[in-house]
């Protein structure tokens, strides 16, 4: 048992442990859960050298402050507009941009500045968390009170045990040019209950953009826009719910079902978001706009293959951050040098 841990100083608004989900128990009514934006979590894991399915922290709106209680650890954040602020034990401050690793020492504190342009931010930790899985997964399902940290969001004073007591000293890595933007268009496959809707409904779904309402959480996001009229009522005998299903209840407005969705449900589902586009749906914030475009299953499966090929080659795209970079940044901050380097906020210094 490792004594290494992250101590939660401030928990943030809603910080939970998530991996890629609890697969294999939906027939018992147990939702899959997992990261709302699995692409961001997987990329952050690559940056710290983890397998892509390692559990990390999912952070919403306001990030936590954590203190390192280990000889050393290595972390990276992911999320559009997110940032890691390191308050070192010696009082120095460093800013680390998303998808760049940083090695931390005992007593350092990290403040995670949550993404400004995405609903979720992730923190990946080298070696991962030494938390007991439930049904094969570390994902937290708050509504059921299980998974992650006692089935709940983090609280001040929690200690998140780390699998690694210390990490190698090596070049820090950066993943440049990686797209973490929220979806503005999502591709969908019609069905399984598109025959429960008027022809107008299909036209409305694809003809005009929808706005993300304030009712958006880990279960799903309710959209506002053109209503989608039913042709045979809005109650069906409950059937299965796939990730990204777009169900339409009596309000005639669509709801996209996400990670914490119920396993079965009784509203007709007009279409489903394709799997390659789902992570970018998880990034949507209230007020953002989304269009739908219908594709075939074959197109969806090609898109997914291309996505997975890109994800499989992420490690090869990592670039080493110059080790003197952070020190120079620190000097720059303290005005010992100034105006020498253009774009001093760029962590990769020119040769």
């Amino acid at each position: 048992m490792s004594a290494a841990a992250l101590r939660v100083i401030q928990p943030g608004l809603h910080t939970t442990i998530q991996d890629l989900g609890r697969v294999g128990f939906q027939h018992l009514g147990i939702p899959v859960s997992g990261a709302l934006d699995p692409i961001a979590l997987r990329a952050a894991n690559v940056v710290v050298g983890n397998p892509q399915d390692t559990a990390g922290l999912e952070i919403a709106v306001m990030g936590p402050v954590l203190e390192i209680e280990a000889e050393s650890t290595r972390v990276a954040v992911a999320g559009l507009g997110s940032r890691l602020v390191i308050e070192a034990a010696d009082g120095a401050h460093r800013d680390i941009p998303p998808l760049q690793s940083a090695r931390l020492a005992r007593g350092d504190r990290i403040r995670i500045m949550a993404a400004s342009n995405s609903a979720v931010t992730y923190l990946a930790i080298e070696g991962g968390l030494a938390v007991q899985p439930f049904l094969g997964s570390l994902s937290t399902y708050v509504r059921g009170g299980f998974g992650g940290m006692d089935g709940r969001a983090l609280l001040a004073g929690d200690r998140l045990p780390l699998a690694a007591e210390t990490v190698d000293s090596r070049a820090e890595m950066q993943l440049a040019g990686f797209d973490l933007a929220p979806a503005s268009e999502a591709r969908v496959i019609l069905g399984p209950q598109d025959d429960y809707f008027e022809p107008d409904a299909i036209e409305n779904l694809t003809g005009t953009p929808y706005a993300v309402s304030r009712e958006a959480d880990r279960m799903g996001i309710r959209l506002e826009g053109e209503p989608l009229p039913h042709s045979k009522g809005y109650n069906i005998v409950s059937d299965g719910i796939a990730p990204g299903s777009i169900q339409v209840p009596g309000s005639r407005l669509p709801i996209i079902l996400l990670a914490d969705r119920q396993t079965v449900g009784g509203y007709p589902k007009i279409a489903s978001i394709i799997s390659a586009d789902l992570a970018a749906i998880g990034r949507l914030l209230p007020g953002m706009s989304l269009r739908f475009r219908i594709v075939t299953i074959a197109e969806a499966q090609t898109a997914r293959r291309q996505l997975e090929q890109a994800m499989a080659s992420l490690a090869a795209r990592l670039i080493a951050v110059r080790p003197d970079g952070p020190d120079l940044d620190r000097l720059y901050d303290s005005n010992l040098i100034s105006g020498v380097i253009d774009g001093a906020s760029d962590p990769v210094l020119p040769d």
Binding site: G24, H27, G144, I189, S238, D239, G240, Q262, I297, Q301
Partner: protein, 245 residues
């Protein structure tokens, strides 16, 4: 005479799930086909199948599109449809203790009044049936069960309750549901079981599986309290009592 079974429909739920639909109503024969097909697909070990989710009237097959395409999966399932009509899976039989009425079943009196029965007869009618677990969903471990006696059939409550306690046994129309966690609920509450249908501390975190058979056995409020204490301490588990006929 039963109607000729409807041919199965294959529907896409995105690019990672295939729906095989046998009907659009709650029907035991339809559900038996769903559960049998689920067993047949599991036994066939089709590459790329990730999970099988039986519901009242359809089976959802979640799959990995990198390992199997929608069309390949459909082609692999078609030959198993015949088996789905004949294969009988091993049924498990449970007897679930329930404390009826009083604070455990706040709607017992109203159900009795609206169905023209004495409260004791409501309990007698409710415990006389062997219920079939059609599917699980809504909450972890929540069983959709049926079919209750026609004499107790009532529509849902006009005003749902915002929270009902864990273990509440409820009815609507001819269905029975038991809440594994505290939850909002729109059905009529007849009683409460001390047995936890979902307990993450237990090796079998979820008690029931699709196709199980369940009978209810009345217990006193005192027995309930004693068993509930055991359940809270993690000492109460319910084992299947044998094979259903």
């Amino acid at each position: 005479m039963t109607a000729q079974p409807r041919p199965a429909r294959f529907l896409a739920a995105g690019d990672t799930a295939l729906v095989i639909e046998f009907g659009d109503q709650v029907d035991r024969a339809v559900n038996d086909r769903v559960i049998a097909l689920s067993g047949a697909i599991a036994a066939a070990r089709i590459p790329g199948v990730v999970e099988l989710v039986p519901t009242f009237r359809s089976l959802m097959v979640h799959y990995d599109p990198l390992r199997v395409s929608h069309d390949e999966l459909e082609a692999a399932v078609v030959p198993l449809l015949g088996a789905a009509g004949s294969v009988r899976h091993r049924e498990r039989f449970f007897t679930l203790p329930v404390s009826y009425g009083g604070e455990h079943g706040p709607d017992l009196a109203e159900v009795a009044e609206r169905t023209g029965q004495a409260p004791a007869d409501v309990i007698r009618l409710h415990t006389a049936e062997v219920y079939h677990v059609y599917a699980l969903g809504f909450l972890p471990g929540y069983p959709y069960m049926g079919d209750g006696p026609e004499a107790l059939s009532l529509p849902r409550r006009a005003t749902p309750r915002l929270r009902v306690p864990m273990g509440s046994v409820s009815i609507a129309f001819r269905q029975v549901g038991i809440y594994p966690l505290e939850s909002p609920a729109g059905w009529h509450l007849l009683g409460r079981t001390p047995v936890r249908l979902f307990d993450p501390r237990r090796e079998n975190a979820v008690l029931f599986a699709p196709g199980d058979k369940v009978r209810f056995e009345p217990i006193s409020a005192e027995t309930y309290d004693r068993l509930a204490e055991d359940a809270a301490a993690g000492r109460l588990d319910l084992r299947p009592s044998g094979e259903a006929a």
